[in-house]
Symmetry: none
Subunit: 225 residues, 2 copies
DNA sequence: GGGTGAACTCAGCAGGTTCTCAGGTCGCAG
DNA sequence: CTGCGACCTGAGAACCTGCTGAGTTCACCC
């Protein structure tokens, strides 16, 4: 069991390291966001213990960036109770568990083992956006747990939007990304397909995931509408 | 992993795009210097593949301008020329790596991965001014945490002001920057749009972010009013 | 060949956006 | 106080954008 500890608070980090080593874990350490990202990207861990307070990229940034890089190693976050952020933030960002300082070491180990047990199997790489999910491997789209059947174009468009969720994408970007970089037809197709998509993923569920940004393009709302 | 490919040679660009997409990258394209600058400024990429030969601003210019704007995304330059000069030039200008055409795709991917691994210092790409924020990528404007919806012109004007916050900008500068360098209508539009903006970002929040400097122009106060 | 489904085009419509214009207001200098 | 120019404001017309339903083409399958 390989664990990465990311903590700038040396004494605490050292205590955890010793404890985990005694418990039979193989431990590596990082003391800032940058090193943590590098280690987590380059090596394989079974879990990451991630403190929020870090120099060069705080815990939230590290976590966000990890998930963006599609690295799904289970993350246990350490938070100070009086912090600005609360645990819901951590969960939103893809943390799998969290502990509030001060915590008991026994609890830490227990949670860590639970995480590893839970997270050991390969995680499905599914794009999610609120209750809207898209599994590129299976080519499946679900909204609120219900499968939605899409044509290839509709699917391509949705995947593109989901890979840019929260960002505004222009029609020409969509045409380049989903149609063909050399597409020379009527840009209106995009509007038409947005409409098809809305009909299938928004209307039946009374949501508004795909926003129109007049004069600019479209944006998939992060919350899924 | 988001990569921007800047290349005017369509077939090559297309080949790279497809290859990188297969490798799991999210790819965006620009085919001239101007588009490249825009994309690189407005969006966040993990790396940029930049050809030297470009219409509207060659690769060197693009690179220089990017670094001047303090955008540190890793850049891999492509050039057909072979020689030490080109290479040292590219490095001097802030390129992070360099490939001479023709190159093997495998090498390109390897170098790109190495670049991304090395990483760029993360920077938040949102303009802020007191409790007023503008996120160019998401095209979102918030005041006091509340989203404000703007029309394209209003948005353009606000972005311009925010990029010059604290400075007095004249109406003709605004017209050049937000409208068209060749705009020939009534300069009163600026006043009109300043009013629209104030109505949306100042009045409801009882602030005065946009100051009028009589006889000079306008200034966005650094504190956000 | 007829039927089906997907991709795309087209043209009309609705409503938002942009810009002009004609006053009104304000600040400043004489 | 007065006049002037700079700026503000409200209204409205022209314009533009995106939405929509209908229709065409095309490939595929029975």
């Amino acid at each position: 069991m390989r664990v990465l500890i990311v903590d700038d608070e040396r004494p605490l980090a050292e205590t955890i390291r010793r404890g985990l080593t005694d418990e039979g874990f193989v431990v590596e350490m990082a003391h800032n966001g940058q090193d943590a990202l590098w280690a987590a990207t380059e090596k394989r861990f079974d879990a990451i213990v991630l403190d929020i307070m870090l120099p060069r990229g705080n815990g939230y940034q590290v976590l966000t960036e990890l998930r963006r890089r599609e690295i799904w190693t289970p993350v246990l976050m350490l938070t100070a109770k009086d912090g600005d952020y609360d645990q819901t933030d951590a969960f939103d960002l893809g943390a799998d568990d969290y502990l509030t300082k001060p915590f008991s070491f026994i609890v830490l180990v227990a949670r860590l083992r639970a995480l590893i047990r839970r997270g050991a199997p390969e995680r499905p790489v599914v794009l999610a956006c609120g209750d809207l999910t898209l599994d590129p491997v299976r080519r499946r789209v679900e909204r609120a747990g219900q499968e939605v059947s899409l044509t290839p174009r509709e699917y391509g468009l949705l995947e593109f939007l989901m890979r840019h969720k929260g960002d505004v994408v222009t029609k020409s970007e969509i045409l380049e990304g989903v149609w063909d970089p050399a597409f020379e037809g009527d840009p209106n197709v995009v509007e038409v397909y947005v409409r098809y998509l809305r009909r299938k993923i928004d209307a039946p569920f009374e949501r508004r995931a795909i926003e129109t940004v007049r004069g600019m393009g479209y944006r998939l709302s992060i919350t899924g509408g």
